[in-house]
């Protein structure tokens, strides 16, 4: 399985390449990608350097152009597709039907991957994208159980990539508007979920409070781990109970599922986290490289090492990890 790693900056890209990535995915420095954060991503010269570094180490480079343009900014997505094509990257990761159409028409030779933001969770949806746009690969939303992934893999018209590690989206990606409902900015429209510009931290008599555009997301007692106020991970009141109504702060970790994922024919594992530091990328990529190599050598005798989990837990949200939707009881 190909190890596909995130890079939000040139140092992060180098960290991914040096620690064993098979492919690295990046975004341009604008709203055309789903990690549109201040100070992140690649301008032309940095993208050139990224490609050169990746090529030198025989690592593939993908560009995510995976948000949804609107009439007033459509041309920025066209420009991004053209830039990526002229750079000569190995694939574009795209979600929007119009952008897919443009990329396929204008650059017929370009490999296209359907982004997780394209929200294709079944064989018929994948077939639509394959027939219309000749996509080579699709990244699956984090909503399928392992047995559903297996069923899909058996009949999928394209190669499948699944998420292995990182922040856990619990909604079908590309079809979640929670963030824009509260802040006006969403992953689809702006490449940002619960954007940092809307976050406020306040120390109050009843504890530390996190707010998103003024809306109270969580309140922490002294000593409690105060996580980033992502909307789906807040504590809210439902029928007089206050709890994490949607999900707790946690990260996805499918390291222990490597043998199953390989056996059912998954072609690539994606590590989430273009917004993360080069140090984070180095740590996570090196653990996954070691685990995949171990599986390659040990096959059925694969046993995950304790220190891998320790390393990954230390860098996880709320210091805990989950199989997420892969595990039916989680659902």
């Amino acid at each position: 399985m190909e190890l596909v790693c995130p890079a939000g900056s040139l140092p992060a890209l180098k960290a991914a390449v040096d620690n064993g990535a098979d492919a690295v995915y990046i975004g341009f420095r604008d709203a055309t990608n789903a990690r549109h954060f201040a100070g992140l991503n690649f301008n032309d010269s940095k993208a050139d350097q990224a490609l050169e570094h990746a090529r030198r180490h025989n690592v593939r480079l993908f560009v995510a152009i995976n948000t949804y343009p609107q009439p007033h900014n459509w041309s920025a997505w066209q420009t991004a597709v053209d830039r990526a094509a002229h750079l000569g990257v190995d694939a574009l990761i795209v979600a929007d039907l119009g952008v897919l159409d443009y990329a396929r028409e204008r650059h017929p030779q370009l490999a296209l991957h359907l982004s997780v933001q394209g929200s294709a969770t079944n064989a018929a949806a994948l077939s639509f994208y394959q027939r219309r746009f000749d996509i080579r690969r699709a990244v699956l939303p984090r909503v399928l159980s392992l047995s559903q992934v297996q069923q899909l893999s058996a009949v999928s018209p394209v190669d499948l990539e699944v998420f292995g590690f990182g922040s856990l989206c619990i909604m079908a990606e590309g079809r979640c508007h929670l963030s824009s409902y509260v802040t006006a900015e969403s992953p689809n429209t702006c490449g940002a979920c619960s954007p940092a510009s809307a976050v406020r931290w306040q120390e109050t008599a009843s504890g530390r409070e996190s707010r998103l555009n003024g809306v109270l997301i969580d309140r922490f007692k002294a000593g409690e781990n105060a996580g980033y106020p992502t909307l789906c991970k807040g504590r809210f009141k439902v029928e007089e109970q206050t709890y994490h109504a949607l999900e707790e702060p946690t990260s996805l970790n499918t390291l222990a599922l490597i043998p199953q994922l390989a056996e059912i024919g998954i072609k690539a594992i994606k590590i989430e986290g273009r917004q993360r530091s080069p140090a984070y990328v180095a740590q996570v990529v090196s653990v996954w490289r070691e685990a995949l190599d171990h599986y390659h050598n040990a096959g059925e005798c694969f046993t995950p090492r304790r220190e891998w989990f320790d390393t990954l837990s230390r860098v996880s949200e709320g210091s805990q990890t989950t199989f997420g939707a892969y595990s039916r009881p989680w659902q």
Binding site: Q70, P71, T121, A123, L178, S180, S186, V238, R328
Partner: protein
């Protein structure tokens, strides 16, 4: 403009569904969407029975549209969808790209529901070529974006071929998950949810710890806490080329709301307060229309 009744998002007992569509017969709705769009486990009305329920509506002159699931995950979900596409014989609403594919394979026209991502005219054109005859704008888009898309649709010469429908009243469908939040609220696993959604005919309200209304839980679906209300934008929507306004059903006052949209259509002047008084303590939002946070109200 025409008025439509959207699909019922919630899980109601069969009798309540029958009563609802019986009431719809004499309502001013021109178009009625029916079918399960949220959870395949909801079988008070079996997938094949929706059409029987639709027959009197069609006889009463309503256009009937069969809506389909927004999140298709299992082989069984896909098989059910395939069967509906083969047998329905009426116009269908695709809420997942799976339905788009199956309907376009069969050369059947379809409506693209609000969970099909059409954010620009290039996307709209791809789907029009696949057989889309009507689109429901994704709920997070603004008037500004709508106007831009409709201008381009005009330039492409597609205005006569594609109708535009706007989600105009009701709790906004905001997200879909693998997880069932209603079962979670009861500490039940999804596979043994005991059909808990039946106990919440309008979903479960979620508030912040400061009692601000935030979301509504409805099985795997998350809706807005406030009610999106574009009644006041009626004439503006007509002016920029909207064809259909969708009213999303709730268990209490759907037909009064429809009535009020109809009264505006007939030239009466109404204020938002009128609807507010019917809805009790409900608060309204319309921020998305103005390009603001969806929960804002202008």
């Amino acid at each position: 403009m025409q008025l439509s009744l959207g699909p019922i998002f919630y899980y109601w007992p069969r009798q309540q569904v029958e009563d609802f569509y019986h009431q719809a017969l004499a309502s001013p709705a021109d178009i009625v969407y029916l079918g399960e769009t949220v959870c395949p486990k909801r079988r008070e009305v079996h997938p094949s029975e929706w059409l029987e329920m639709a027959a009197p509506l069609a006889e009463a002159g309503k256009q009937v549209v069969l809506s389909t699931l927004a999140l298709i995950e299992s082989r069984a979900d896909l098989a059910t969808l395939r069967k509906l596409c083969d047998q329905s014989g009426c116009l269908m609403e695709a809420n997942d790209m799976a339905a788009v594919e199956l309907l376009s394979e069969r050369n059947l026209p379809f409506v693209a529901g609000p969970s099909i991502n059409i954010y620009n005219s290039a996307s709209l054109r791809v789907l029009q070529q696949a057989g889309m005859m009507r689109w429901v704008m994704p709920v997070e888009l603004s008037r500004h974006t709508l106007q831009g898309i409709l201008e381009e649709v005009q330039q492409f010469g597609l205005a006569q071929q594609v109708q535009t429908e706007i989600f105009s009243y009701g709790h906004l469908p905001l997200a879909y998950s693998a997880r069932c939040f209603t079962a979670r609220n009861r500490n039940l696993p999804k596979d043994d949810c005991q059909l808990s959604c039946l106990d919440y005919p309008d979903g479960i309200p979620v508030h912040t710890r400061e009692n601000t209304s935030l979301f509504t839980l409805n099985g795997i679906q998350t809706l807005s806490g406030d009610i999106h209300n574009l009644l006041a934008e009626y004439h503006d929507m007509a002016a920029i080329g909207v064809d259909i306004l969708r009213i999303s059903p709730n268990s209490s006052n759907t037909f009064q709301v429809l009535e009020q949209f109809d009264r505006i259509r007939r030239g009466e002047t109404l204020s938002n307060q009128l609807i507010a008084s019917d809805q009790g303590a409900a608060t309204f939002c319309n921020g998305y229309w103005y390009g603001k946070p969806g929960m804002d109200f202008t």
